[in-house]
Symmetry: C4
């Protein structure tokens, strides 16, 4: 059985899913998916920076078995490719997050589900076919937040992934131009009511705060969250080494190096550029994950050579969900996994531990 | 009330005003606005150099209040975004500098008005809705110049901004090709009669001096100006650290790092490249402003991280003036100000003092 | 007699053969020839990196005789331009490898013939008009491999060129998309039966091993091969200095710096970037050859300035074979040779020994 | 009187002459003018490298008089812009070198006339309106060469400019493709009969020597020439510092840093890159000139900041000659001279001595 029967031109690489998704999604939804902040420099840098890293492969290493398995915060994973949290999957497929989770399970992948998803957190566990984590926006209503964390853990979330880079939204010009999907319009079921309202007649600089985002979070908020959470808490959106050390000090269980897919602060450094400093700062005490621009198995191999334990993919999973539902997501993951295997074989790196920094320079 | 009611496609970023202006201005006026010297390398470098600077944002900083206010040479300003001096606003809008000043006031912005403006200096103060400074070309007739300074100060100019980079005009090919706007054609009311005439039959190298510009200015001219001016005198057009020190020694009240918007000497260094050396040279003794290529809130944040106290925008204000008059100018300033607020929030920099150099590197 | 009578637009440079070949080959064959792995970055970097190296020519050197001759592993060669091993020449010309070998002889060039060629190894020697070497894939059936080496040597191969960079194939998207030429479809006469079969319904990551490639090769395999081979054994596909030292230790007779024409591991370093480290590592104890992106006489001169003893060309020879058979191959080699002579003359380097590193910098 | 009455669209910059020439010249002549060797990298690098150099102008320098005059090898010149030697001006204008020399005189410029010109050397002096030098190819017939030098000096050449970078021609693909202008076809009056003939049936690598070029020249040839020449001998085509020292040792009167306009050895270093090393090597003992890619007054200023005494322009003079004859050449020179004046004024450099290295960096 072909995993993507409804797709005429069968994708052979991640980027092949992009036009398939563009063909089925409304223009403003497509703009919301594809767009980044400002002039979308960070968006491009994320992809380009992985590509520009040169590989120095080892010859004549026995790679007759290649092992991509790892253990992450106590969870056994078949490979280091996870789904990044993204909002409102009902925009992309009627099955919404259920399809995503079935697809992730089919692809043996960890899925990180967003607070802004279209599906109540309690249902996520019921449809999940494998391990999943819950991405958290700490909301102004801390009791609501506490309850949300508890519900996620009860539903089966193996970890909480706290977003630390979004006190407010960036300059999302495509959405402003095309009428993008606001939190109001998405009516996400895991979000408390708006903390304030926006005067539509207000001047632009008077409307920079988002009613659903709490701009007052600090590292103390992380400490509090670590205290109330029964499961490890990762921080997503760290780019600086000093912040990585603060995360360690506040009790974080892991770090996700991210610039929010280039959607928040344009010209924020590419994640591949930021990764080495974070890895050095945590000095092996915590797992480090990275997202942003991962499109190839070689990108994944490079991230691991730079010290990451795993990677997350965001937009590609949306493309595959839109184009092929759960089967699309599974196929996308299988493509990436097969490319990672090929890269490891050709690099002379039969295990993830063999993906070391010397493969990136001489 | 929408601030730009006459604009069908509402701009969501500074660059959106560009095509709106191009659509309403005659071709030679548009060429005069957009053009730079020579092959327009500096023009492009100005914009690109800001964009290429990477940001390293801080996570989990409380940004529930963001304060963009500052005090500049004794004037309290709501934000560090000022209008750069540009010539002959009657070319762009029948209301000329009056509209510009009303727009600047609506946007809570300092406006620097040009000697080559279409409005007598005495009128500027009558229409200004907020603080304004007067840009000065010291003219061959020093008595005329002295009088002009006095009139500007009487009219309310809070500072004099001496242009120091224009002993003659550069190779403005677009103007030479299309019949640009010469000082003669503009008949600016604040300029003394031509100091010499040009033989139209003379060979090109015999026509390099401009009848309205005095090529003999030196640092002593600045000292003289400081002496006669009741208000602080800034020097606009400094790119070198040694010149910045000369400005301090001659009694300047501030420095504007500028390459004249790429309009004078093509391949002059981008202003973002020159800024750090000037900042280091003045060592905090004087305010430093910068213009050239500022199109985004992130550009402004970077300029301040590099040590600038404020920025000026030139062409964008002309675009907005042409497209929407005073309302356009106000809206443009509001867009930039909102982007600056977003950038500060996402950088974890709730005050201007938090915009420090470590946000640009790790 | 024109050497390429059937070609209307006579090529004046290597790249002129490219469109001629594209015009006569089926689309999927063309895709197979031209394509590289992944996004084809290494493919492009190979060509660009040679071009980007600057030459600092010597003036006023007597170049009234220019000598390109050399001796390589005991074989006297008229010039340092060899044909790289490429698969299945019957895809390009009905005369297959026979035409290639006749063309190489006409061009006074060493030819390296592939294990995956369309012609039984025993026949190669009968048609060869000059020196040739045999590229070897060590196959899972070691007895078959031993026999193949013996047959090659009996047929006249002057050396064995062991491929060390292909335990499995890379992400050849063009082939996967267009239905490229698999080893199965090529039915190469010098290859043992498949070592395993592939389940066509298997998921992508379950199909990464190729039935005709042994992924278990190590440096011990090279030692074994050196032992059983009556002729020198070179290793093709070395990019790292440490691997070059391992090759020396294992008894290799030479090294070919190669990234497999960008066809295996995309974003592998360009061969011109890897070459100097390998040259330094072998310290003159072994000849070093290089392939990948050589399109001009200046590229060849640069490779030799960087320490290579000779270069190999792959795709261009296929273009010429497809466009003009043996005459095309000869003409292509003559073009490259004439460009090398011109480069040596203009560099002030009348012998290959005069192509030294100081010609690349000052 | 307009100096270029026949040109409808009056050029305002050097590059404007390019399309005017393209419009009036046959395709193969245009290819001969515009083309460079190989893939024309050096051709492009020459132009781009000047443009990429950043200028750091000085503010508030009195530039009410700007002096571009200099003395070069005893000749007083109004400015440092000379015409580079180029072949066969009869291809571009019926008046050939006579028009060029009249144009140079009109533009107050030194003209360097080529051995391969269309005009007997004896006539050059009769039509010259100002100082001129004679470019020399030392020919195999040394007596002919000696006589040619004597005739040039008698005719008024103030110096001999020995070409040292052309023992043979480079890979001029455009000419080979389009049927370019060979020395045979040009029948230049100042060249001895061919030293050998070329077998049209010979293979490409057997045809690399040119019958009119002596590939055996050495630094001793320069010493000999210095001895027999009554006027100073410059060497044109030096890129290396060690060669510059050899030129000094052999008695050269000056050096022209040149890569032959990118026409000989493709990927030879850009002349702006080579210039500083040569300047340092000669340490002020000889004048240093430079050509290659000079298109703007700022390019000239940069060359002088890097230590050149003067610059030469080649292709632009041909464009102007083709488009407007002597008037075109004069106008072109006037444009460049006016741009140099503007650059000096805006740089705060009122004399050539003020064009110092600190204007290129900080």
């Amino acid at each position: 059985m072909s995993p993507v029967p409804e797709i005429a031109d069968r994708p052979v690489r991640v980027l092949d899913y992009r036009p398939l998704a563009a063909a089925v999604l409304p223009a403003n939804t497509w703009g919301y998916v594809e767009g980044g902040a400002g002039d979308e420099h960070s968006l491009g840098w994320n992809e380009q920076s992985w590509q520009e890293i040169r590989l120095w492969p080892r010859a004549l290493v026995d790679v007759s078995t290649i092992d991509t398995s790892l253990s992450l915060l106590g969870t056994a994973l078949a490979h280091p490719i996870a789904l990044a949290p993204t909002a409102a999957h009902s925009l992309y497929h009627p099955g919404a997050e259920s399809q995503t989770l079935v697809g992730a399970g089919g692809g043996d992948a960890l899925a990180v589900m967003s607070t802004l998803g279209s599906t109540p957190v309690d249902e996520l566990g019921r449809v999940a076919k494998g391990p999943w984590w819950f991405q958290l926006y700490v909301q102004a209503d801390r009791d609501f937040t506490t309850d949300l964390v508890q519900r996620a853990v009860v539903a089966g979330a193996g970890a909480i992934v706290l977003t630390v880079d979004t006190p407010l939204l960036g300059a999302r010009d495509r959405d402003r131009r095309m009428g993008g999907h606001t939190v109001d319009a998405m009516r996400p079921p895991n979000v408390a009511p708006a903390a304030h309202s926006i005067d539509p007649g207000a001047r632009p600089h008077q409307r920079v705060y988002n009613p659903y985002l709490d701009p007052s979070l600090t590292w103390d908020t992380l400490s509090w969250l670590v205290e109330i959470s029964p499961v490890p808490v990762l921080t997503k959106g760290v780019l600086r080494a000093d912040d990585a050390r603060r995360a360690v000090d506040a009790g974080a269980g892991g770090i996700v190096v991210s610039n929010h897919g280039g959607r928040n602060l344009d010209t924020a450094v590419a994640t591949s550029t930021a990764l080495p400093g974070v890895v050095e700062a945590v000095a092996g005490n915590l797992p480090v994950l990275v997202d942003g621009g991962i499109r190839r198995g070689t990108d994944i191999a490079k991230a691991l050579c730079l010290g990451a334990d795993a990677v997350l993919v965001g937009r590609p999973a949306i493309w595959a969900l839109a184009a092929g539902g759960a089967d699309g997501v599974t196929h996308l993951l299988d493509l990436l996994r097969s490319e990672l295997l090929m890269a490891m074989g050709l690099l002379g790196a039969p295990t993830l531990q063999d993906l070391t920094g010397d493969l990136l320079q001489q």
